[in-house]
Symmetry: none
DNA sequence: ATTAAATTCCCCACTTTTCCCCACTCATCC
DNA sequence: GGATGAGTGGGGAAAAGTGGGGAATTTAAT
């Protein structure tokens, strides 16, 4: 599971060091390489190889009948590149992908559970503003769902025999 | 279950000692690390690992298709960091999280049952004022519910075996 | 086919941060 | 009043992030 937020830099050779926590996140999987492709809202998405192939496998072909489905599939697959990780834990992202994400040097790396997102920090800020995301509102819904989960657990009543004397 | 209110300090290295009662609160769980993320109303939220992962697991993926859903998910997951607890019971909160909570040195720690909240004391005061929290009103609802709950105790409950897996 | 230019990738090195350990102070509890 | 445990402080080893040299491979051109 990928979490966390990091600010890293592309070096002069265009290499990007993935946060070590994210490299560790896939112990036992094929993490000697990652797959990058075009992400959502203008970022670059990074997947572990097994997750990427699972996503592809599970994509519903019937959606291809819709024009949107095919266009998406074509774009997503063709932007995807398998990238080896060097001994320092770095990947070399194709320049064309960096361009569509407006990335030059500073990079914001987001862990989003099943995948990783790579943003130009300014573009991400702009996206947050433009989309008028209301974090508090989402958090209240999310957290209160967690509380409901707890209530269920605690509703298990005491044994009948325990009530006799109370 | 987390309860209690404490005032602690960040040391020069940005480390925060969690109240020992809160560390003890999770005996038997994986409390060698906690997960911190962005909380509600400007605080930092701290979760035991198992609770955090339960929150994530229970998130409804269909919400990702809604713009707000994805934006919240992205924010919540990417602000989340797994933090090891050192031998003194301290965690090292990332500076970026401290920044969004306006925390420099003094810290207010609140136990909120399923999670812990970390506040800048002044910001919490301000939040209470701004949000015009009416404690008494909430308390009356809460207390009267507790009384009804106590009455329920005298009703014959369903068999435990019917409820275990719910 | 041979050479030159460019790219990839492996290794070494430096700087900063993280994390593990030891130590001190203060409050609480026998 | 000593002992225990909690909160705070700081040093040093280890790891992470960053930068750069140079061999090997590829691409293009002569």
């Amino acid at each position: 599971m990928f979490t966390g937020r990091y600010t890293h830099k592309l070096d002069a050779k265009g290499r990007l060091a993935l946060p070590s926590k994210m490299r560790e996140a896939g112990i036992g999987l094929q993490y000697s390489q990652f797959v990058v492709s075009k992400g959502i809202d203008g970022c670059i998405a990074v997947f572990p190889v097994d997750k990427f192939e699972k996503f592809i496998d599970e994509f519903d072909p019937s959606e291809l009948e819709m024009e949107q489905g095919l266009n998406f599939y074509r774009e997503f697959a063709s932007w995807a590149h398998y990238l080896p990780v060097d001994n320092q834990g770095r990947i070399n992202i194709p320049q064309t992908l960096l361009d569509i994400a407006s990335i030059d040097s500073d990079v914001l790396i987001l862990g989003v559970v099943d995948w990783i997102e790579i943003w130009n920090p300014d573009e991400y800020e702009k996206h947050l503003k433009d989309s008028k995301v209301n974090y508090n509102k989402g958090a209240k819904t999310f957290f209160s769902a967690a509380i409901r989960g707890k209530r269920k657990k605690y509703e298990i009543p005491p044994k009948r025999s325990d009530l006799e004397d109370s």
